[in-house]
Symmetry: none
Subunit: 175 residues, 2 copies
């Protein structure tokens, strides 16, 4: 990974800085290998979506709904920090939320090649072994064991079809 902001940058770099950066959406799914050291390449398009936040890496924690990891960018995390800050400093709710949201998440930095190291405990929790599947979900993404994701995908697809789910208009549909 190289982020050059000077010199004669080609169309690609430009697109990275302007085109994709504006969108900043995590799309499609990619399956990459996890080496002995626990390193995985974050899909290049995901990295592009992070654009200016590349240096801060990504924030990851264990999902409470699925057997997978949830990931998003640092800005999101910072925003959550601000919001929690508006609670009473020592309220129970604030504490409970902060403990689960912050206490259990990890900031992962990119190495020179655009990889991150998945902590062993998180890998285990998500059942990730030889390879990991990155699933783009717009503003966030998930990291799955390839097998488990296959099941998940089928179930999700079935649910959409059966219930006739659609994308809600405007605002934030549900939390």
């Amino acid at each position: 990974m190289v982020v050059f902001c000077r010199g004669r940058e080609g169309p690609r770099v430009f697109r990275t800085l302007c085109g994709w950066a504006a969108m900043a959406l995590f799309l499609s799914t990619y399956t990459n290998k996890v080496d002995k050291k626990g390193r995985v390449s974050v899909p290049a398009s995901f990295r592009a979506a992070l654009a200016e936040q590349l240096v801060q890496g990504i924030v990851v924690f264990c999902s409470h709904q699925h057997d997978c990891l949830e990931g998003f960018d640092w800005a999101k995390m910072d925003e959550i920090g601000d919001r929690l800050d508006h609670y009473d400093l020592f309220s129970d709710d604030q504490d409970d939320l902060a403990t689960t949201v912050f206490g259990e998440s990890v900031q992962l930095f990119f190495d020179g090649e655009g990889r991150v190291v998945l902590p062993a405990d998180l890998m285990e929790a998500a059942g990730i072994g030889e390879s990991a599947t990155f699933v783009g979900l717009g503003r966030k993404f998930q990291i799955w064991s390839p097998d488990r994701f296959e099941e998940r995908k089928n179930r999700a697809r079935a649910a959409v079809r059966d219930k006739g789910l659609t994308v809600p208009k405007g605002g934030e549909g549900r939390s």
Copy 2:
């Protein structure tokens, strides 16, 4: 913004200068050993979050809701002072809070290796023995006995689920 990832100092320096230092967020949990002298390494990422603080150290006091220690940086301590100011100046509540928060808090400085010495009475109050667990909670952090934190974590998780707690104001903390 110029983002340079190459060169002698490498990403680490940049990360320290821009990434962490700019937005001090305490993340994840780390368990470190306490030696005979009462010294513990403060997690490196926590130290990085404090980086720009003039006073190189942390402020710690005994939590009055949990069996743990609460830790802050100096800036946060200032802010607590401000918040307490909004109480009636001579109210009992103000007095009580100020007494516990300020009267019982200790400032701990780092040694050359990034450790602090936990005062014996605080360790005892929090039930900390051989090792201590640092829990990042965004703008503040806590220090626990590893065992007790394990329970606490589960309880917090349950509370979030049962009460349906979410990050206030549209932030979809996780889901």
